[in-house]
Symmetry: C2
Subunit: 233 residues, 2 copies
């Protein structure tokens, strides 16, 4: 399997490229609109064909490149049935997305948003904005729910093997990856905290909404192709 | 082997943590002063002991964390004999740094600066500012020399196996890694360019010096511990 992590500095978003080295078919997880040309160039240089774009959720802090990539490559866009209506396939817990010889398993991990998915492929967990490195996604918009997020992380993600590599949707401190074992022991929001503690902590936070919330959510429900929404008009 | 890539967003610098899982001894390559606490916390959480700090060169765009890390952990700082006088061990081409069961091979790759080293460990090449992803380091200060850089890359780094993973000192476009094969074929400064073409291109560039040049170089010659130099006084 070919694997690449990519970064958008403006929104601190990680995009992930996975490809089957036999068929050269590729998956992109959480592409960013402004990075579509970079991503297409890398896919071309690596001799890959983009088959599938996966979205972990309807993002509030950047506009997705999914629709643009679909237009340019014919890739199928997939996300939760609770998420963007523009996608080609709705995914549910336990679904498996097959791309060449790759198998990507879908986990429903709501709490950051009600449509949040995580993806598991070959020992790597792509945790979107549910589990971040030494942190978690916020829970104060898009039907977020701290109790649900606690359950998603502790009952689902933390039951994976400790060595599972964790690749989040964002990081703001220069960390690129972690493991399930590390987060179980060292994530300050979760280690040694009860469900009630976590809910109290999350509800007491008072942080401003993402700058792009009102632009990004409607744009992303249209796979990033709603130009009016994306430009804020 | 345990491996982590870390990022400093301010200077777009990558720092690398390598550790031997048997003895838990660790190496940091190119740590950044402002990220010392982050790096120490990660080392602690992973149950590692920092044994060695390696510098690819005397940096001009950020201040090293090497000296601070040495004070805090007792780690030995190592760099080129043409580089900072503050180090514990001077390294030359062909040297091997042994840390637990890790073996880090030293390659002299001058051209970005006259003291530039690359490090090779377990199929991973840490190329400093010699070879960047789809780019190269600049050659217009600190005794940089475009012909020398071309030779370092094409005669040394490009003779490594194509599958060798390339981890540079910086990236400004959200790429995190590459391979020797990819850079041979797709690096626009090198693929299909003669040595003379490369020299002409590099000499014709007219870009401003790094913002921190006058602060960072003297500070880094003191392993980042020259407070007056680091603060610009």
């Amino acid at each position: 399997m070919l694997f690449r992590q990519l970064f958008d500095g403006e929104s601190s978003t990680y995009t992930y490229l996975l490809a089957d080295t036999a068929t050269r078919q590729a998956v992109l997880i959480d592409p960013v609109l402004e990075q579509v040309e970079r991503d297409l160039q890398l896919i071309r240089e690596l001799g890959l064909t983009l088959a599938v774009v996966l979205e972990t959720h309807v993002h509030a802090d950047h506009v997705t490149g999914a629709g643009r990539l679909r237009e340019r490559t014919g890739a199928k866009v997939m996300a939760s049935s609770r998420g963007a209506p523009c996608v080609d396939r709705h995914l549910s817990d336990g679904d498996v997305v097959r791309v060449g010889e790759l198998e990507v398993r879908v986990l429903e991990t709501p709490g950051h948003t009600d449509d949040s998915l995580s993806f598991l492929c070959d020992g790597r967990l792509f945790s979107g904005d549910a589990l971040l490195i030494r942190s978690t996604g916020r829970t104060d918009f898009q039907n977020g729910d701290p109790g649900q997020l606690y359950d998603s992380i502790t009952r689902q993600l933390f039951t994976l093997p400790d060595a599972t590599e964790v690749y989040p949707g964002h990081d703001y401190t220069g960390h690129l990856q972690s493991t399930v074992g590390e987060e179980k022991h060292h994530n300050p929001r979760l280690a040694g905290r009860t469900r009630d503690d976590f809910i109290t902590f999350m509800l007491a936070r008072n942080i401003p909404p993402p700058r792009k919330l009102d632009i990004a959510v409607p744009a992303n429900r249209a796979c990033g192709l709603d130009a009016d929404a994306a430009s804020g008009h």
